[in-house]
């Protein structure tokens, strides 16, 4: 099982890497465009600060046997939701993966949508579907905050839950743009127009972020499973060693006793 997970984690990692050029480029464009307009120009950028309904996308796995992967993430999600509820906010959840659904259903949270059995066939279409639901919730159903919690894939051995705000889109940090040092960006000719490009790129940016979160979660799950299964195999080997030793000792002890009895019997006859 460790080897299975190891080969899957490699594939998932490749998918993350092949998605990276696109998402980085989109992010770069969004940042450079958003820096030039005020936050009021687009509803996805606007933060009306009411904050009384919160939507959280929770990305967990369908299967278990992956160590603390789901537990860590769900603990953080749970704390987040509790905290918001204590502040008097209404929360709703979109959940991906059976583990998260079961955990949150037991704690009687309300689901907006649930997705199970998506792993192994994660594609951009799924991200688009999620993005549509979430953007609609934000724009039309008076949710004021949309967050994602997923497990960030750092390396095969290290994954950790990451909570991030999806909407309203965080205003870009000006330094970050300066750091890119792209003076050319200021002089683009836009087609159809800067606002037009911004209009179409923001929803796409949302989709890309969700897609990335899904890929991250998938790779993390395999990584976590690989580590967990490696530990399990090692523990099992250790236990087999200890038990074999014990078995041999018991056997030897019983042979020794039998020998002693035979010798004692022979002595008694002599």
């Amino acid at each position: 099982m460790k080897l299975v997970a190891a080969s899957k984690v490699r594939r998932a990692q490749e998918r993350i890497e092949s998605a990276r050029p696109y998402s980085e480029k989109i992010e770069e464009l969004v940042n450079s465009l958003a820096a030039k307009v005020s936050a009021d120009t687009h509803p996805l950028l606007r933060d009306d600060m009411k904050d009384d309904r919160v939507l959280l996308l929770v990305i967990t796995s369908d299967k278990g046997l992956c160590g603390g992967y789901n537990t860590n993430l769900l603990r953080q999600a749970f704390q987040f939701l509790r905290k918001r509820e204590e502040e008097g906010k209404e929360t709703e959840i979109i959940v991906v993966g059976r583990k998260g659904r079961d955990f949150l259903a037991r704690r009687e949270f309300s689901f907006k949508e649930q997705f199970t059995d998506v792993y192994g066939k994660i594609d951009f279409a799924l991200a688009t579907q999620l993005a549509e639901i979430m953007t609609k919730a934000y724009l039309e159903e008076s949710f004021d905050e949309v967050h994602i919690i997923t497990t960030e894939f750092r390396t095969i051995l290290s994954q950790s839950p990451r909570l991030s705000r999806l909407l309203p889109l965080a205003p870009p940090v000006p330094e970050a743009i300066d750091a890119q040092g792209d003076p050319v960006a200021a002089e683009y000719i836009y087609e159809p127009s800067m606002e037009g490009v911004l209009d179409s790129i923001l929803p796409r940016h949302v989709r890309v972020q969700i897609y990335r979160s899904l890929l991250d979660a998938e790779a993390s799950e395999f990584g976590a499973r690989m580590t967990a299964m490696d530990n399990a195999s090692r523990n099992a080997e250790e236990m087999i060693g200890a038990l074999t030793l014990q078995m041999n000792r018991v056997r030897q002890a019983s042979i020794t006793t039998e020998l002693l009895e035979v010798v004692a019997g022979a002595d008694a006859l002599a």
Binding site: R15, S18, A19, P21, Y22, S23, K25, I26, L29, D123, F124, A127, V184, A185, E187, Y188, I189, Y190, E191, P192, G196, V197, S200, I201, R204, R207, V208, Y211
Partner: protein, 141 residues
């Protein structure tokens, strides 16, 4: 970088499709097709649905592109496409079937909602694009 050429990268959310040094690119822009030669002024364009082609020397390649952006610089052009397929990867039969389905949907349900019609129209447009890309590569070979 060879003098008088530019880098073309076509990336989709799923992968990097093309990375090549080219002489010329034509792409389906928002207001219509546009062509780019090296040393173009910085240009950021929203893409529609259509055929993108690029030329290296005398070889011309075709790619179907469905929505995205083109970022053009003097020596580099980056295409961010939501979907893109090289001509040789397109399954012409499937594209034909998709076209047929879309056509049937468009003629069949006139009374249905507007949304469905738009969707079918978009599907038709995509199918036609893919078919024409597949055909063009056939002529080329």
């Amino acid at each position: 970088m060879v003098e008088g050429k530019m880098m073309l990268d076509i990336v989709t959310p799923e992968r990097k499709l093309v990375s090549a040094e080219v002489d010329e690119v034509t792409a389906p822009g928002f207001y219509g097709e546009f062509g780019v030669l090296p040393q173009h002024t910085p240009y950021l364009c929203q893409l529609g649905v259509g055929v993108l082609s690029y030329r290296t020397g005398s070889a011309r390649y075709f790619v179907s592109v469905i929505e995205g952006y083109a970022e053009v610089g003097p020596e580099k052009i980056t295409i961010l496409a939501e979907h893109a397929e090289r001509a040789e990867d397109i399954d012409a039969e499937r594209a034909q079937e998709a076209r047929q389905r879309a056509q049937e949907r468009m003629t069949g349900q006139k009374s249905e909602e507007e949304l469905d019609f738009d969707r079918a129209e978009l599907a038709l447009k995509r199918a036609i694009t893919r078919i024409s890309v597949a055909n063009q590569s056939g002529l080329n070979n």
